[in-house]
Each structure stands twice: as C-alpha cells, then as structure tokens.
C-alpha cells in the first residue's frame, strides 16, 4: 500500500514542488482498505517536533551478526529496490538519504502534529475507537519542550487523543517532573512493564492497559527504554531500575492472556533489533510497535507469529495497522506507513491553533537568525554527520580543545544548505536537560576505552547488549573501526588530525564534549557554544568528513 510515485519529479524549486502537490493527494496518502475490527495508530520518537521538519534518514546503519543485511540495516538505493520504491519518488525522499537536498526542495517538509491530527481524525471517522499509541521520546527535543518541562507536548498529545504511551527521554526531565505529569497532566496511561522500584524490586508503573474494541479485548503492554540509567543520567531518576527483563515480559503476556486478551500489542522503546530478538524468545505477542532506533519501514517484519512495525521518528510518519481479531485470536493484519507530507496533508485547524498557542511565548527567541549554513546539516547515521561535525568544530574552537566528543544521539532535525540557522534549529539538535559542555583532560588510553565502549553498545552482535544509540561523534581525531571484532579490538589508528600524529595511550589530551551522564558536570550549555561559534562565522560550512574509516561493513 505504498503511496504512488510521481513520474519525472526531480530538480529544484517551485515547479517540482507544484508537481509534487498535484500528483500526491491527501486522499492517496490516507487511502486504506479498511480491514478487520480493530485499528491501531502508532507514532513514536517525535522528539517534541510540533512543526513539519526536514529529517534525512541514515546513509550508514550497519547491522552485525545475525542482523547483518536485514532491515532496518538497509539504506539508500538498496532499500528502495527491496521495497520497490521508484527513484525520485516521494517515498524515496521520505525513507532514504540520497539526493536529500534536491528532493527536500521538491517535496517540502514532513510531519507536524497538526497534519497527524488530520490523519487521526480522518481514520477515526471511518474506524471509531482507533487506538492511538505513542512509543515515547515525545517530551524532549525542542526549545519549547525544554522551556516548559514537556508541558507543551503533554497538552498536544492529550489533544491528539493518545490512548497510551511508554517512555525514554521523558525521564530526563527528572523523576519529580515525570511524576507530576503522569499524576496530574496526562490524560492517558503511562505504561512500562520493565520499570521497577529499585528499593523494593516492585513494578513502578502500570504494565499494560486493556482496550475493548470491535468486540475484542486488546492488551497494550508498555516497555520503556531498557538502558535508561546506563545511557542517560541515572541520578535524575535514582529510584528506578529498567532492563529488558525478558522473563518479566513473558509473565505479563501470560497475565494479559489469562485476563482475557484476544490480541497482545507491545508498545516498545527497546529498539528494533532488541524487539526482533524478543519476538523470537517470547511467545504470544501479536504486534510489536517498535521505537527508539528511529527506523521507518513500509512493511511489517514477521518473526514467528509476531509482526514488528517501525514508524520512523520526528513526526514524519504515522503507522496504521488494521487487525482482524476473532475467536480469541488475531487472524489477520493490514498495515500502511503514512508519510505526513506537510504540503499535501491539510493541517487540522484546531491542532494548528494549539501549536501556535504553545509556541507563541517562545516565538521571538526561537525565530532569531543566528547565521547561515552553506552545507546540509543532518545528524542520523552510525558515524559522524554534519550537524555533529559542526558541534565538534564549535567545541574545538570555542573551548580550545584538541579533541571534541558529541554523543551518538539519533534525534535532531536537518537544515538545508544555503539557508538560515535559527535558534530553534540549534535547539532541535541539542535541547536536553544535561547540556553542560565540559572541558577536561583524558589520556589516549582513556579515549580508546571510550570509543571501544560505545562501539560495543552499537556493534555487539547480541542485540540485548546494544543500547540503540549511534557511535560517539569525534572532532579533531580520526580512527579506524572494524565493526566485526570483539570489544577492545575494534578501534585502531587513532590519529590527532591537527598534527597527524598517532594518539599516545600515555599522553594527555584536552577534550571538550557535552551530555555527560555524570552529576555535577560543569561548563556552558552546548547551545550557547554552538550559537557563539555560528555567530562568529556568519556562514558555516562543513567539509566532508573522511576521518572515520569503517572496516567489515
């Protein structure tokens, strides 16, 4: 049920954009042969993007071990061939990375909660009671979400009519704020079967919610990001323990089946590879709505009797899943990944008004132009992207460091070349609650240890040992990585770019970075460092980065 490609659309400017609009209609995007008796709608990893965005999908997204060559570790032309997507088509632009700038100029931005609201209202008009599920990473990632402690997103998601959510970055607002929202502000349940009270080893949140729809009982189980206290600052939610907890998941599935569930849906923030393994290990889950690793797939991935859905990130997509549930079991599934082309789908007037209201108090600060970029700024990909190259360059110069480190976050909207950079653009790539840009000394040995540690979080062949981020981005230093080696043997040829010298394990280097998980980290906020750098440069340009050499891909 892929949206149809338009013929011959390529190149720049208004002509192609008009062609895109004429060839692609809202009716086509939302067209769906309604099926069965229950509809699920899935959004995930919106990262607080209220407005339509440019977001370039990854060029490099490598799978190791049993995951090698499997989706979502397929990108670009290979991905398009796999799914029969025509080159230059709207889905080429929405789902793959190449020709991004030209296609972005032709097809425009994607997403926006007002467009999502239009889709949800239209679908609920034909399937009342469609269950809207949010996979988390919703309350973090923008200027307004940062300034309101996620309140803008909470009000918007309430208005969107969400039925349940799970979480990851939500907890980086701090446990007190999360509790305040869950207890007083959220109109729907906050689910997390794998979140436990550390002291008593008891479930800390509601594990599931049962929905009765179309004569069937649908259990929606929540699974929060398993490595919360490892990948993010544990001191911000000191009383909680997470983990994959496969045995616990099997118990909860048995519990909901015993409680009469005809269909079991897992609303997950595990990451795709973790969910694929979980589906093979735990029986009785019909649908897993995956999240965390920001993958968008136009078809479900089936593992035994479980169907995995991947709905992308940054509000670009909404997945519609129609289920035929009869005689106590799921008999059939029909799915469509709907790209929310902002120039094609009309904004819902009520939601558009709410978004304007939420953004109004910050409009002046967000809209301020800081400088210009002559390069495409994007983040996503296993190794350095241009956004983090820019951030690393800012850290190296503003903090006078030898080497800069920027975390392998997967969130952050893209900025097209030859355009203004506003303060909002900078915050879209940096807004979070532990932004201090530290400056410290590290030995070469320590730097190796860090690269090896992060590489194993990404390239451990067992998905249960992966944390779902990308490789730490490095400025001022090059290295070679063999992704198939074990931890401790992947990284070699570490070179200080300034001098061309090998990194000496015993020597000390000045390192600047941001997003430390350690409490009490000191330094200016990363957005101030980046803003100061861009202001000084006027126009930034990011040279192609060839300092990371990848072996074994």
């Amino acid at each position: 049920m892929a949206a149809s490609a338009i013929a011959g659309a390529s190149g720049f400017g208004n002509w192609a954009r008009l062609a895109a609009r004429q060839a692609l209609t809202q009716e086509q995007l939302l067209e769906f042969d309604t099926f069965g008796n229950v509809t699920l709608l899935h959004v995930t990893d919106m990262h607080a993007q209220l407005k339509p965005v440019y977001f370039r999908e990854p060029e490099i997204n490598l799978g190791v071990g049993a995951q090698k060559g499997l989706v979502p570790h397929v990108t670009g032309a290979e991905y398009r061939r796999m799914y029969g997507i025509e080159d230059g088509s709207p889905l080429h632009y929405a789902l793959t990375w190449d020709d991004f700038t030209a296609l972005a100029r032709a097809y425009g931005r994607i997403g926006g909660v007002d467009r999502a609201a239009t889709a949800i209202k239209a679908i609920r008009a034909e399937r009342p009671g469609a269950i809207v599920l949010d996979g988390g990473d919703t309350w973090q990632g923008s200027y307004s979400a940062l300034k309101t402690g996620g309140a803008d997103m909470v009000r918007v998601m309430n208005a969107l009519g969400v039925d349940a959510m799970t979480a990851h970055w939500e907890f980086t607002l701090g446990i007190d704020r999360v509790t305040e929202i869950v207890d007083n502000e959220l109109d729907f349940p906050f689910l997390g079967a794998n979140i436990f009270d550390k002291e008593w080893d008891e479930p800390a949140y509601e594990p599931y919610r049962m929905f009765e729809r179309g004569g069937a009982r649908v259990a929606v189980i929540g699974q929060a990001f398993p490595y919360m206290p490892v990948a993010n600052p544990g001191w911000m939610f000191p009383g909680l323990s997470f983990g994959i907890r496969q045995e616990r998941m099997a118990e909860v599935v048995a519990e909901v089946r015993a409680a009469g569930a005809d269909c079991v849906v897992l609303l997950s923030h595990n990451g795709f590879d973790v969910d694929r393994k979980l589906a093979a290990r735990v029986d009785g889950i019909d649908v897993i709505l995956t999240g965390h690793t920001h993958d968008a797939l136009p078809e479900p991935v089936q593992v035994n009797n479980t169907f995995l859905i991947a709905s992308g990130s940054h509000g670009k997509f909404i997945s519609r899943i129609d289920l035929d549930i009869r005689d106590g079991e799921m008999k059939g599934i029909r799915h469509k990944l709907i790209p929310l082309f902002a120039d094609v789908i009309a904004p819902d007037p009520e939601m558009a008004a709410l978004v304007r209201k939420e953004r109004a108090p910050f409009a002046a600060e967000m809209g301020e132009v800081i400088g210009r970029t002559s390069s495409l700024l994007y983040r996503r990909g296993n190794f350095n992207g241009t956004w983090d190259d820019l951030i690393c360059n800012a850290l190296l110069e503003e903090r006078e460091a030898d080497i800069a480190l920027s975390p392998g976050f997967r969130w952050g909207a893209s900025v097209l070349p030859d355009s203004e950079i506003t303060r909002e653009d900078i915050f879209n790539a940096t807004a979070m609650s532990y932004p201090a840009a530290y400056r410290t000394e590290m030995t070469g040995e320590m730097l190796t240890l860090i690269l090896e540690d992060v590489a194993d979080n990404l390239f451990n062949p067992d998905p249960y040992y992966q944390q779902g981020g990308d490789m730490v981005r490095v400025g001022g230093m090059g290295y070679t990585i063999d992704i198939n080696k074990p931890q401790g043997e992947r990284i070699s040829d570490m070179t200080l770019l300034r001098t061309g010298e090998r990194i000496d394990p015993a020597k000390t280097y000045v390192v600047a970075g941001w997003a430390s998980v350690n409490q009490g980290t000191e330094g200016p906020a990363i957005w101030d460092v980046v803003e100061s750098y861009i202001r000084r440069k006027g126009t930034v340009s990011v040279e192609p980065n060839t300092s990371v050499k990848v072996v074994g891909a």
């Binding site: 490892v230 993010n232 323990s241 975390p407 320590m446 970075g513």
Partner: protein, 138 residues
C-alpha cells in the same frame, strides 16, 4: 560520556585487572566449580539464572537463581578476583529452591550458576553481564 580522571583510573585498572587475570581467574572459577561438583559435568537446563544483560551499576548487580529440586546452588563471577560469590544451601523443608542477591562485578564477565540436585546430578546456567561506561544511548 565524561569520566573524571579518578573514574578513568579506576576503570583502567579494572580493565587491566580483567585482562591480566583471566587465566588465573578462570582457573580459580573452574577450581571453585570442580570443588562444588566433584568433577561431575553439569547439564544445561534445570537452573534459572536471572541477571541484567547490561549492569545499571557494576557495584551492585541484582542476580537471582532458581532450581526446583536443588539442594544447593553456587554462584560464580568468572571475572572477579574472587570468583566464588555465594553458595546457597536448601534444606528439605525449604519451600522453594531460589535465592536473590546483589553482587559486585569488576567488569564485563560471565556469571555462572550451578545447582546440585537431590539425585546427585548438577545443572548449569550462565549469562554475560556487561559493565559499561554508558552515556551515549540515544
């Protein structure tokens, strides 16, 4: 991402200890197992070992073991300087043959549980627990 120099030193030492000691540690883990089993080869299955795949805090890792019908379960941390963590003995009146504790792990390593069954046989389960710097998930 950031580590203080003290943390770095501690981690570095931990890593060194782990990489210098494996022969001795594994040997002594094997010795501890041999002392417990009397050289009988344990079967896979029959004992359940629960531990996180990645430790949230390497200094206090929750581990639980269960083996219905066991008279004793030994818990081994193969990468620790002292691999023998605990031996749980279950008398005939024990309602369930299970135990839970928190252990300290010097670094990423395999944790092993071996249960001595009432019929004299042994059962084995293991899991790799990763101890990581963390901080880059995203």
């Amino acid at each position: 991402m950031r580590l203080t120099r003290r943390d770095a030193l501690a981690l570095g030492l931990g890593a060194t200890a782990a990489s210098f000691l494996p022969l001795r540690a594994v040997a002594s883990a094997e010795e501890a197992i041999a002392a417990f089993t009397g050289g009988v080869e344990p079967a896979e299955g029959g004992v359940t070992l629960n531990a996180p795949e990645i430790a949230e805090n390497g200094n206090t890792v929750p581990v639980s073991v269960e083996a219905p019908g066991a008279t004793a379960i030994i818990l081994i941390a193969t990468g620790n300087p002292q691999p023998g963590v605990a031996t749980f003995n279950f008398g005939p009146l024990a309602g369930a043959q299970s135990a839970a504790t928190r252990i300290r792990l010097a670094g990423t390593q395999e944790v092993i549980a071996i249960a001595k069954m009432a019929d004299g046989g042994f059962a084995r389960a293991s899991r790799v627990v990763k101890v990581t710097i963390g901080g880059c998930g995203g």
